[in-house]
Symmetry: C2
Subunit: 340 residues, 2 copies
């Protein structure tokens, strides 16, 4: 089985290679694609050197294509990839809201992936991280209302986002003024309540994605969700403060117990020992850290929690690879007809 990464030289592409290196996914060949200016670059993978190729206009000779080169490239090329027989696991927002494209977090709704028609969408990073923790609570207690405030890292804007933070922080520490280019305003020592474009309702698209995608993944159109998405000067890992109103009351102890047995979650919740989710500890980790679990003061019987998940891993690369692993484990990932 052949796997291809489109967007191999970006921040998520880099993580896709690292995750694939340690993945149980059974494949015989990895192809790397990126923009023409990266063509010829050699990247190490499992002791070999793989050469990056320019992404072709048409079909790609691979069984699974992990696409992470942005929405416009996915939109333009994915139909040709599918026509060529590949399964596309797409990290962009291009197809997430299409009714016939499953939006999948394997621990939560892996089964939905089985019904794909050639494209499976990987959710927005903020959504993927939240939903791992919220899904088991929703199943057991029925989430009625969910209020989310995010603390999002610069990695959400890719490698160049992290570079802008590091470079401009360095400049600012040396008394030089920095002009923002990736972000709307200088990000060092600042907070920017603006991620993605503003919509007519005053919410950003990032905020609406959390609402739209959480409902689709949990399969519950009645879920009331509101989000404030905020960029802060961190490198990796998105953190989120989540307040939940529940149909059936839950105690923090019950929630902790349930989450301790939830795949993809690490309960990190011992305040007295100063253990709670943080980018410092969650970065580079596959599991989403969940902590600060407490009885909500806003909703009787509800819960409040704090989560931190590596945006480049569970929020992107890891989840994409896990979708492929899930399908293979279900016997639903087969080489293309005609291919070996």
């Amino acid at each position: 089985m052949k796997v291809a990464i489109v967007g191999a030289t970006g921040a998520v592409g880099h993580e896709l290679m690292k995750v694939l290196e340690n993945s149980t996914l059974d494949f015989s060949e990895l192809q790397l694609y990126a923009s023409p200016r990266s063509a010829g670059l050699k990247l190490p993978f499992r002791g070999q050197e793989l050469t990056v190729q320019a992404t072709p206009e048409g079909a790609i000779d691979a069984d699974v294509i992990l696409a992470s080169a942005g929405g416009s490239i996915s939109k333009a090329l994915a139909p040709a990839w599918v026509a060529g027989g590949a399964l596309v696991i797409d990290n962009s927002s291009a197809f997430r809201y299409d009714a016939d494209v499953p939006l999948v977090v394997p621990e939560v709704n892996g089964q939905a992936a089985l019904g794909h028609k050639g494209i499976i969408a990987n959710p927005n990073c903020t959504t993927a991280i939240a939903v791992v923790a919220v899904a088991p609570l929703h199943r057991k207690y029925g989430v009625k209302r969910m209020i989310v405030s995010t603390y999002q890292a610069t990695s959400g804007a890719g490698q160049k986002g992290m570079e802008e933070l590091l470079e401009q922080t360095h400049m600012q520490l040396h008394g030089k003024e920095a002009t923002a280019s990736v972000f709307a305003h200088p990000i060092p020592f600042n907070v920017i309540p603006h991620i993605d474009a503003f919509q007519d309702n005053g919410y950003t698209k990032e905020e609406m994605k959390v609402a739209w995608e959480t409902r689709k993944i949990l399969g519950d159109e009645n879920l009331i969700i509101s989000c404030t998405a905020v960029r802060i000067p961190t490198l990796r890992t998105h953190s989120e403060a989540i307040t939940l109103e529940l149909e059936r009351p839950a105690t923090p102890d019950e929630a902790r117990e349930l989450l301790r047995h939830t795949a993809g979650v690490e309960v990190r919740d011992d305040p007295e020992a100063k253990l709670y989710p943080m980018p410092l500890t969650a970065s580079g980790k596959y599991d989403v850290e969940v902590g600060r679990i407490r009885a909500s003061l806003a909703f009787e019987g509800g819960l409040e929690l704090f989560v931190a998940g590596d945006q480049l891993l569970k929020g992107a690369a890891l989840n994409a690879v896990q979708i492929a692993e899930y399908l293979q484990a279900q016997g639903a990932l087969k080489p293309r007809a005609g291919a070996v």
Copy 2:
């Protein structure tokens, strides 16, 4: 009239001097007090040099004492200051919850200050910043439920908090590991959901202060409030995402109009022009920036907003001086009996 600052060499003390320099408060003398190791230090004020004295054990010969040297010093010494005839405006949490101590944000409940018995408490920074924006909405629409997530600057831990962020960021950029001393964990490029001590209910004292103090200032014990307080790597200005359920529905336009005519508030709310509250623009500013005002997706007829206020100013020094200014304007700030 004589004014004294206790804790003159701290971050808030520094801001108290700057605010007093430009204040309309009519006073003839400013005395500076700090710990013995700062005694003798000379600080500039209105073209003069003032000498810092060691805080005495007993009474201070001043009419108004602006105390910002921490809760234990206020607790220990304020009774003697009051017995000596001074009015104490205390920045610590020592007396905030005492029934006979008014907790005052002049724009909101200035009148409460008139009933003081020698001590007036300055609210917690996060509360002061939120309440300036929420109070007029509460008066007009009746806030029923308020959910707050904070983005708090290192200045909340004083000068040493800001220094730890700057020094450790510098170290980290040069590949050196830093050990936290002011904060529970390294703060550069990190997020710490832990400010002040954890309480039995799983909330931190900082989070509970927002609930307790907002209720006291707004004079509404039925207000439902829940807060998640989070330290982030910024220098000054606390930001807050606030979700409000209202008794009577409000539109964002109505709220914007109301807040445009609210003292202490700057409506900064034009997303298309990339105008919204941020530490970058709110730092050093007297007004609290309020923006991202939108119809709540969580509560029909409710509102969501984002605020940013300089923690050292409206969150501390400015509010304390404004209390004195308010009392003087009301003719309620008189030199002590026997004093000139």
